[in-house]
């Protein structure tokens, strides 16, 4: 079925098609429409789920843990302050190995109050062990929720599907709502092997000393690494079943690219026409859109970027005292590679500052005009 829907509703549809059984969420702009539609879907009987109207995001994630531990497929959504409030419980969900899927609408952190897009909220959670998918179209949002469950339930790790506030959450695009039967075949009912079970009573999360905690963390890392291949496999299968394939990254005009723009989310969409225009002018530029950020696809990034002349990374997030996360991690992945190109790290679009094509063009132009980046961090368009 074809439907023009907003980004937020794509999350709701993804949860509905994945047959989420428990939804526990707390409203926050710009996430509210996600849960409002889910609430209606439950009330109309289209979605057979328990809807817990919790009193905070911390509780939203805690309730999600309880439901997931009991074996139910669980979904929630939040943004910025809400995600930050969940922080402690995000760690808990990972350690408890719970395959929860959450939509996070990237919103800049307060103060000052803001509702516009920035990735710092989800980037701040990159250490929690949650897998992260950065989307750049309404279709991808819906599809990623379904794929997220498929990966989560194989590695027993939680996954967040991330989208830009307003630019994606509140814009409308034509979207294919997949057939429920096809989704059921792709994503069958889940039987959590480790769920709370009165027939197999066990305590989960008991005190663990230094002699064995380390190994439990090793397991999480190993399963996170395993998810790299799973994302590719499940993404390929998605292509076979639904006609849309997803990978760890999305490449554009990369075959003979000398200069590569690495970015994510909606800035990547804006970049494509810029790449086209510059190609017309004879510049050999290409684009890598990082889709799966956790686990970071280091091997793939090395394959794609080693040997190129120049790489510029555009981050819509910042770690004060360092720079942008996609830049840091791309640099780190390429560090030991002999033919690693010089890399420029730009910060753009914080707090929802618009990043139109001319700004993307400016960044690529700046990189083309320099042999080496001037500093560890490059700000674009600061009013000075």
């Amino acid at each position: 079925m074809q439907k023009v829907i907003m980004g937020n509703h794509a999350l709701s549809w993804g949860a509905l098609l994945s047959r989420a059984e428990v939804i526990a969420a707390y409203p926050i702009t710009p996430q509210t429409e996600v849960v409002e539609l889910l609430s209606n879907m439950c009330a109309d009987g289209d979605l057979d789920a328990q809807f817990i109207k919790v009193e905070s995001e911390h509780s939203a994630m805690a309730a999600s843990m309880g439901a997931s531990a009991a074996g139910a497929r669980t979904f929630t959504a939040t943004s910025a302050q809400g995600l930050a409030l969940m922080h402690e419980v995000l760690h808990w969900a990972t350690g408890a190995r719970l395959p929860i899927v959450m939509g996070n609408i990237n919103r800049a952190m307060a103060p000052p109050w803001t509702i516009w897009t920035e990735q710092t909220d989800s980037i701040s959670e990159r250490d929690t062990g949650w897998l992260q998918i950065y989307t750049s179209s309404i279709q991808e949002i819906l599809d990623s929720v379904i794929q997220a469950y498929k990966v989560a339930e194989q590695v027993y790790l939680p996954v967040m599907v991330v989208l830009d506030s307003f630019v994606l959450s509140h814009t409308n695009e034509n979207c294919d709502i997949p057939d429920q039967k096809k989704v059921d075949a792709y994503l069958p009912k889940f039987n959590n092997e480790y769920k709370l079970d009165v027939n197999k009573p066990a305590a989960y999360g008991g005190l663990t000393g230094p002699d064995w905690y380390y190994e439990l963390r090793y397991k999480i890392q190993k399963d996170t690494e395993r998810s790299l291949d799973l994302f590719v496999e499940t993404g390929k299968e998605f292509g076979e079943v639904f006609g849309r394939e997803y990978g760890l990254v999305e490449t554009y005009k990369m075959d003979d690219a000398d200069t590569v723009l690495v970015t994510s989310a909606s800035i990547a969409s804006t970049a494509r026409p810029v790449i086209d225009a510059m190609r017309e002018e004879g510049h050999k530029v290409g684009l890598v859109r990082v889709r799966v950020f956790r686990p970071f696809p280091s091997d793939l990034m090395r394959k794609l970027l080693a040997g190129r002349k120049k790489v510029l990374v555009v981050d819509r997030n910042i770690s004060f005292g360092m720079s942008g996360a996609f830049y840091e991690e791309t640099k780190a992945a390429l560090y030991n590679v002999k033919s690693s190109p010089p890399m420029w790290g730009y910060i753009a679009g914080l707090g929802g500052r618009d990043v139109p094509t001319n700004v993307v063009r400016d960044m690529i132009d700046q990189t083309l005009s320099e042999d080496h980046p001037e500093g560890d961090i490059i700000w674009i368009g600061v009013k000075k």
Binding site: A24, D48, G66, A69, A70, P201, A203, G206, L207, W212
Partner: protein, 302 residues
């Protein structure tokens, strides 16, 4: 042998509770009545450690250890998860200390209670943050010494009235209990099991190291607390109707205070002040119980 409480043991020996631990007794009794079709969640509290280190457990039922603030809402989540899968006959129990109930856990508890989620919440109250070394909580009674309320600055705030706070959410059942009266506690657990909605049980659990009292006196102190009217045993139905579980002839509060090091510093004047405080509260409860009589009478007739 005529057992006055269920014979079955669900909790096993070998747990890490201190000698004479009231919290261990409370769990033993609760599980006897709850039975094996029970799932529990503990926030940070003594029981996080008492249950035993990975890979062992002593409660004998599925247990999800969770973050400090979250016991009530994790229980709500477990219930929703079970309901979604059609397993509605399992007891879902949040089991927390006074810290995780009165203080850091109160927001989630209020949320769960306001939604009237179908869980049993048991607060075993040893009147301080015992697991981290006896720091005061809002459940610590007036006059008590803890590591954050030393004798020269003993706790001058009254114990928070959790029963009243939860009754204000109009839940079907709120009840206090004491480890010295296991039959009464078990009866209350049984009633809680039989109805839907949020049920809150507040059980007085002696703590020898925290209270600086002898381990062998744990049950006696839990009895004296009730007999001196310091910790009355009562129920609140539907948030409005009060029923005294017992109305013992008042024993001298000094009998209760004397064996506990945490009260040793009190002057006679301060003890008299405490006594007055508890007497007033007790009178107020009796009054409410009197006014609630018609409700229970009508219930009996049905």
């Amino acid at each position: 042998m005529k057992y006055t409480i269920p014979e079955q043991e669900i909790m096993c020996s070998g747990h890490k509770a201190c000698q004479g631990c009231g919290a261990a007794l409370a769990m033993r009794y609760a599980l006897k009545e709850l039975g094996p079709r029970t799932m529990m969640t503990f926030p940070a509290c003594c029981w996080s450690v008492i249950d035993g280190p990975f890979p062992y457990s002593s409660v004998g039922v599925p247990l999800f250890h969770t973050a400090f603030e979250t016991a009530a809402v994790v229980a709500s989540g477990i219930r929703a998860g079970l309901d979604a899968r059609g397993e509605e006959d399992v007891n879902v129990v949040a089991w927390a200390g006074d810290g995780g109930t009165f203080d850091i856990g109160i927001q989630a508890l209020s949320g769960t209670t306001e939604r009237n989620d179908n869980i049993i919440y048991v607060c075993y109250d040893n009147e301080a943050y015992m697991n981290t070394g006896v720091q005061r909580s809002s459940s610590t009674p007036w006059g008590a010494v803890t590591t954050t309320t030393p004798p020269r600055h003993f706790k001058k705030e009254r114990k928070k009235d959790m029963m009243a706070i939860l009754a204000a959410h109009s839940i079907p059942y709120t009840a206090s209990a004491s480890v010295a009266y296991p039959e009464d506690f078990i009866k209350k657990v049984k009633y809680a099991k039989s109805i839907k909605g949020t049920k809150f049980l507040h059980i007085f659990a002696s703590c020898p190291p925290g209270w600086r009292s002898a381990p062998e006196l744990s049950v006696e102190l839990a009895r004296l607390a009730v007999q001196t009217h310091v910790f009355p045993l009562y129920e609140i139905h539907e948030g409005r109707y009060y029923k005294m579980s017992m109305n013992p002839k008042k024993k001298d509060i000094r009998e209760y205070l004397k064996p506990q090091g945490r009260f040793r510093h009190l002057t006679e004047e301060q003890v008299a002040h405490m006594e007055k405080m508890y007497d007033e509260k007790y009178e107020w409860l009796l009054d409410l119980a009197e006014r609630s009589k018609p409700y229970f009478e009508a219930k009996k007739e049905k």
